[in-house]
Symmetry: C2
Subunit: 234 residues, 2 copies
DNA sequence: TGAATACAGTTTGTATACTAAGAGCGTTTT
DNA sequence: AAAACGCTCTTAGTATACAAACTGTATTCA
């Protein structure tokens, strides 16, 4: 193993715990760190070139967000993603998505629209380049820009945590298709933008609903597919 | 066979941070610790008889829940509750409350109903005794029992964080009326229980909506009341 | 007199040291 | 030979030590 640490030379005081938190969070959400994988405090400290203290702070924050599970006196592991709760997840996502997108259509201002456009632009770019990880991230940013345009922090915060949870499932889903990206996602986003720009709340909610149901359908199809049917077991 | 560790009272290791977290959380939500009040790590460590390490862990977890704000290199303070966002808060609470209570009416089982009944019993007791802090806590437990009966962890978790946030506002509200408790709250809860027991989803949602709107109306009336109108300034 | 700076005190952020709780493995005891 | 005991090793939880940043005050200089 390389002894190369990720320690930054400037290391502003009070930022190292935050730095580790964001780095680990990104690796967990992008599935570079798989569910169930143990996280050792000492090796993390070595990797980031700090002591265990900021590492522990980062782990506590990750645990508070449900991204890792702390086994008392043993280790902390990447939180498993329980696929069996997927229908419930979609129900919750659908509700919050409809609510935020409907409110956004009513309450959005010019600055909100500009933010949304920018996110969509970056999303489109990621799809074009076939960068799945970036696409998932930009997709989340796009919907969060809309949620912020709803001007309801409470709904936006709940919605954000659901989108976080979903990033790992989406990663799993696209990975199963060798990371090919369907370009119709861009069109769907464009339609949502149009509804919000025209302040058509009913249409925005309806499109948000279709969008979440589409995710549900696609993922359930993927789950129903037998990936081992071509393998002879006897 | 492993030993029954629950029986041994010396399970202290690994619990002190959790103990401090729960104690501080309760004091914040019950407004014993007022918004804006600074929390000093050293005095907290002295108070709980531990070092700063578990205290810091508790503070980090509280910060993750939004109950305290960490000012870098300075202090952590109890998070201010921003009354100006109250209408947005009620919007969010209303949405999640309707969703969870509707789902609960459809999906509840006998164990759920027993839990809800127990919470309502404890809530009634607190109202009878005029114990406002206990009443607010039991009210939250009652609605969370219903949310758990919805069998959707994602919605329940979002709803729980909103109820947490609301505990402080409710405390503020009742304190302004010298902690007198209106007994009709018990009746409203009983009606909700009836709808859920009868699996009347529409009624359960409707009652949940009325319930949240009632909180909104009462609180806005309270906010609109001029508490200084009897004081001559000139 | 007023502003700027240096100094001291306080408190957080990080590093390190110490302790206890499990996990693995070998030895001992029937 | 099998189960129980104990040894060691690893790792998390806690305590303590040290360093950096912010606050306030007092002194100095214009």
């Amino acid at each position: 193993m390389s002894k190369n640490t990720e320690a930054t030379p400037k290391r502003t005081r009070g930022e190292s715990a935050n730095r580790i938190f964001k780095a680990l969070r990104e690796e967990i959400l992008s599935m570079q760190l798989g569910p169930g994988q143990p996280l050792d405090e000492v090796s993390l400290a070595e990797r980031f070139g700090v002591s265990r203290s900021p590492v522990r702070e980062a782990l506590v924050r990750l645990a508070a967000q449900g991204l890792v599970n702390t086994l008392p006196n043993k280790s902390t592991i990447i939180a498993p993603l329980n696929i069996e709760e997927f229908p419930q997840y979609i129900d919750a996502l659908d509700l919050l998505q409809r609510a935020t997108h409907r409110l956004a259509a009513t309450l959005r201002n010019d600055a909100d629209l500009a933010d949304i456009d920018l996110c969509q632009q970056q999303f489109t770019q990621a799809v074009k380049e076939g960068d799945v990880v970036a696409m998932i991230e930009r997709n989340q940013a796009f919907h969060m820009a809309i949620a912020n345009a709803s001007h309801n922090n409470y709904l936006a915060k709940s919605y954000a945590s659901l989108l976080d949870e979903g990033r790992r499932i989406l990663r799993l889903y696209f990975r199963s298709y060798n990371d090919t990206l369907p370009p119709e996602l861009v069109v769907e986003h464009d339609r949502i933008i149009g509804a919000i720009r025209n302040q058509d709340a009913d249409l925005a909610e309806s499109l948000a609903h279709e969008h979440s149901q589409e995710v549900k359908t696609r993922f359930l199809e993927y789950m129903a597919t037998s990936h081992t049917s071509g393998i002879k077991v006897i």
